[in-house]
């Protein structure tokens, strides 16, 4: 197993190196002059040229690429060309918000998705199966931007139940940053009222983000369970007198969710990188909104760092998924 894990990690390294180079080249060939943006509204051409030289933007692109790779490998992501602050620091401030939102969304998607998929399979072609199908198709088809606004209108404006935006009510005071995860930090300082407020702020963005994933997981679980239900051992277990739900819980689900685990892993990466629209509508101060601001201000250092962080998240999750699969089904590691 250890060899298997090491092999998976080793395979991620060239992929990440490729990502660093590719994103750098892409960021420098698209139009847009960060020096002009940095110089500001009232800058003269001389000021822009000076900034270009100061940041090495006037050097040959190959030289810039080598410098960039060397910097990243030494752990230096550079300074934001716009705010002048270290990019790593800015990302470090934003990453927990995105991860918290992603974890909660993924938890919702997995819990509800597996549950719905199982129920649908057990009621194959029955009314519950049809209902889950409607939810799945709807979940995949509805644009998260639209859903977010609809949820805001209904739950915040119409019913006045949940907050519209942000991570915490400004009138409730400040939470010292311990981990950056609001749910953890509020509990750590013993403020349960703030914890509940953070949870209420999470509800709408997490559900919006979770819905497409929920639909995917429900579909994969349903088809996986249906396939396992056809196996001989299930038939014999049934003959031995196991009840439907006991059978499903003990024999079917574990064999059926291998594919679902892969989906959950892929979904995690997709949620981290795909939270842009949800973060924008709910003013969630995470990596998504940071990336949008970086794009609009041509802050290529920030953009490269965001891409790299998302790439690392993908790589880590991929390894974790491979390991999880090997644990659920040891035959995977032997292959």
């Amino acid at each position: 197993m250890a060899l298997y894990i090491l092999r998976r990690i080793a395979l991620s390294i060239p992929a990440l190196l490729g990502l660093i180079l590719l994103t750098f080249v892409l960021s420098r060939v698209v139009p847009g002059d960060p020096a002009a943006t940095l110089a500001g509204d009232a800058a003269t051409p001389a000021q822009i040229a000076q900034i270009r030289a100061q940041y090495g933007l006037d050097r040959p692109i190959l030289e810039q690429a080598v410098i960039h790779v060397r910097q990243v490998l030494s752990g230096d992501l550079g300074n934001s060309i716009f705010s002048g602050r270290p990019v790593a620091e800015e990302i470090w401030q934003r990453l927990p918000a995105t991860l918290e939102l992603t974890f909660v969304a993924l938890f919702l998607a997995t819990l509800l998705g597996i549950g719905l998929g199982l129920v649908a399979a057990l009621d194959h072609n029955g009314p519950l199966d049809h209902l889950v199908r409607v939810v799945s198709v709807g979940g995949l088809a509805i644009a998260s931007f639209w859903l977010a606004i609809m949820l805001q209108l209904q739950f915040s404006m119409e019913w006045n139940l949940l907050p519209l935006r942000g991570r915490l009510d400004v009138a409730l005071g400040q939470v010292p940053r311990l981990t950056g995860f609001m749910l953890v930090d509020t509990l750590a300082i013993g403020r349960f009222d703030l914890f509940l407020d953070a949870l209420r702020h999470l509800a709408l963005p997490a559900f919006t983000l979770a819905l497409p994933g929920l639909a995917t997981i429900a579909r994969f679980t349903r088809s996986g369970v249906l396939e396992v239900l056809q196996k001989d051992y299930v038939l014999y277990a049934r003959a031995a007198g196991y009840g439907r739900f006991r059978l499903a819980a003990i024999y079917v689900l574990r064999n059926a969710v291998t594919v679902t685990v892969t989906q959950v892993g892929l979904l995690f990466g997709a949620l981290v990188s795909g939270a842009v629209a949800v973060e924008a509508v709910f003013d969630w101060p995470g990596l998504g909104t940071y990336a949008v601001q970086a794009i609009l201000s041509a802050d290529y250092k920030a953009l490269l760092a965001v891409t790299l962080v998302i790439g690392v998240v993908y790589a880590v999750v991929n390894v974790a998924v491979d390991v999880a699969q090997a644990i659920i089904d040891p035959r995977v590691a032997d292959q």
Partner: protein
Amino acid sequence: MMHRLLRCARLVLLLAAAPLMASAQTAPRPLVWGDTLPATLDPHAIFDVPSQFILLNVYDGLYRYQGNPPRLEPWLAESHTVSADGLTWEFTLRAGAKFHDGSEITAEDVVYSFRRLLAMRRAPAAAFTPVLTAEAVTAVNPRTVRFVLSRPYAPFLSALPLVAVVNPRVLSQHVAGDDWGSAWLAANSAGSGAYRVNATNYQPRVSLDLERFPEHFSGFAGNPRPIEAVRVRPVLETSTRVLALLRGEIDATDSYLPADQVERVDRNPGTRVARDESMRVFVIRMNNQRPPFDNHDVRLCLAHAFNYEGFNNVVLRGFVARNAGPNPNNLWGNPENLAPYAFDLARARTHCDRARAAGVDLSRPLEIHVQNELQQTTQAAQLFQSDLRRIGINLRIVPNTWPNITSATARAETTPDMWIHWVSTYFVDPENWIGQMYDSQFHGTWKASSWYSNPRVDTLLRAARESLSQEERQRLYAEATALVVADSPDIWVYNTVNLRGLSRRVSGYSFSPVGSGGEVRLMSLEN
């Protein structure tokens, strides 16, 4: 059935949320300002509309604009003198003004601030670098600062409010290499303004907390109930911004509320819309050095083909004021009875036909670049596209971003055929508009991106820049404006009426085109 289910769901949620809602309601709410934050808090590193909020609330300058129309008022300086040749300016500082650390503001601090600005050479320095060197700023005594300009520069005083006075004693502890403390000041403050930054809760472009500085020299005169705490929480999406205001989560939107939301915000009992004519001109640029825009008839054709009334009165619902030339209507320096171009397709067709007869090729599609995130630029381009089609001109709309377009305007060859933007108030002088837009010495900057060149206009604008007589400057700018409008290098559409959604618990809101009404010192709050 569905209704009953929804009602049940609502009841369950209400019960679950009840204890929390009660606790949220009992706490007093600070002012929640929903406008955009700048990328950095360093007042010498950047100058754009969001950074003015920091400049006005966290820092002080020698002079400051107040009210609408803006009056230039002594601020940290109580008076000034200027030599007969217009080169030597001396400012006397008011006594007793203090930085947030309690130390008194002296002439040396002003000198340090200007030297830092000039050394960093970032955006706000652009107004001074052509006429001022670091050595030319000196402290005559602890309360007198002297500036010696290399040549007369009439907008000098108008541009002074751009410069924040920073505290060198605080900054010197955070200098890294030759950065003048810029990395530290990006997320902290070293000012003397009516509010100070709580740096522990600052997150760039996400949240900024300000606390009142009770020892501010103004003494918060005229405001018996100044606001103690401000929470700046920018709201990215327009839809969320409006909903957050209506729901009371924020007390103010930005000052560019979409026209179609005005009625909705006004109708809501707890909110209102402040409408204030600003000095921010909406302009459609044309690259005058690229065919077919190098032909005067083509430019006139296009200027008569834009449906000004339809755009201003229907699309923008009349919440703007038609503007005839490059300077805002409400600024001095415009000729009397300056007539705006009229929407007249027959006349446009005549000019285009005349251009074609002169051999101009109008068959290629013309490109107009719009700013993706600013819907109005797209709306204007679409309206223009449909009218131009009626006179046989094909207009292609290219979505783009501000950084991309402004970097493209560095050279005439890369500047788009046409693009749309606003020119905001950086300082209140025609130099900010016609001076920097149509004097050919500014070619390569986004403001001069029509690449217009007229030697007579250059002479007039340069003379106006150096003249010490207000009457003469008025005359020179009026003549230059008349010439520019006759040449039609661009299409000037309207002067902005700023629309800011406000909670009714905010009183004392006072708009000025510099800062767009973001001076919290003047406001009060009902809790």
